[in-house]
Amino acid sequence: MVQPGSIVGGLLGFLGKLGASVYFLGEILRQSGIGIARPRLVVEQIHNAGVLSLVIIMTSGLFVGMVLGLQGVDALSRLRQEDILGASVALVLLKELGPVVTALLFAGRAGTALASEIGLMRATDQLSAMEVMAIDPVRRIVAPRFLGGAISLPLLTGVFNVVGILGAWFIGVYVLGVDNGAFWSQMQEYVDPEDIWEGIFKSAAFGVAASLIAVFEGYNAVPTAEGVGLATTRTVVTTSIVILMLDYVITAALL
């Protein structure tokens, strides 16, 4: 037996969990036909994961963008390059900050809600009851939530980026006097469609990962009040680490 708590034990535990979640993803995808058969279930979950996250995403995006505006002008003015503020902010947001920060906020807002909702259904035997009623809970409960989350995150990322760029534009152009024409023209000069696609690809991958972790932790929660709380915590921690690792891997692969 491997000692629990040892490094080897931890690694084996991680690998086991990775394997189990990949298997779970396969199961979810097999049952995802419900998204076509009953789109209303997915719409409901896009509402829960997307619409309800919108306020926090827009607020955060605005402030991240405004900070980028302040810091960008400060740093670029040392190089006499304030004109490329728009380009720098757009590249930073589109390629990195947008997808990553949105995914982290998503984990905190929608991921925890998903994990605790499904965990509570586990703890109160609702999932078990469905099984006995000959209704597959992966199909009826998990798959729509996974799809709703995976669809919502790229859309939220787009909103975050736009609000962020507008925030930087407001601070840069209106408050700190960067030239409006230069802001946009330099942005269009230096931003390639590839940069945008890179961001969309990243946020799609993060959406799959964050939603999968949330439904996996909820579905496999220990069926007690404590277990549900633990599942919620683990969702945030695991998602954050996985997002940042994935971000590095995707960036390294695309550059």
């Binding site: 589109l94 859309l155 787009g158």
Partner: protein, 161 residues
């Protein structure tokens, strides 16, 4: 059912907002037309040393952006750099004896191509070649040239132990 339809409406608006955001990003933050790559005509130029010139670097004439560097290859036979420039169609009256130089924006800035006008009556067209080129000025070469000339002026004094 009122609650359901409000929720559906909200969700529909959210999805619309998300796609509108992507559309905004694709149209406002990047220049799709310019990037599409079919517009404009191509001319080539050969340089001894391009020293850090990048694909997509601007091509300017009288300081105005008229096109981009599309491709940079090393010619294994002639041992120089073969650079393909794409120039926008509306600038179709550039004399074919114009010269091209690899220039630097600022002292240490990024490299770009500057075209200096010639006096010919015939113009550059697709796949013509700019004959007169001036390679990048490489700072290290400049510095060492300067130091050597100084050393010669002082009679090789720097060789003393």
């Amino acid at each position: 059912m009122a609650a359901t339809s409000t929720r559906d409406l909200g969700t529909g608006l959210f999805v619309l907002l998300g796609f509108a955001a992507l559309a905004f990003l694709l149209t406002q933050t990047t220049d799709l037309d310019e990037y599409r790559g079919d517009s404009g005509y191509r001319v080539v130029a050969r340089f001894q040393d391009i020293a850090g010139l990048k694909v997509r670097a601007p091509v300017t004439m009288a300081g105005v952006n008229i096109g981009r560097v599309e491709k940079i290859e090393f010619d294994g036979d002639r041992l120089d750099a073969l650079v393909t420039l794409r120039i926008e169609n509306r600038y179709d009256r550039i004399p074919d004896d114009s010269d091209a130089a690899v220039l630097t924006a600022g002292l240490l800035g990024s490299k770009y191509i500057g075209i200096g006008p010639g006096g010919s009556d015939t113009y550059l067209a697709d796949s013509s070649e700019i004959q007169l080129t001036q390679s990048a000025i490489v700072l290290e070469k400049l510095v060492s040239k300067f130091l050597f000339s100084q050393a010669e002026n002082t009679g090789g004094g720097q060789a003393d132990p």
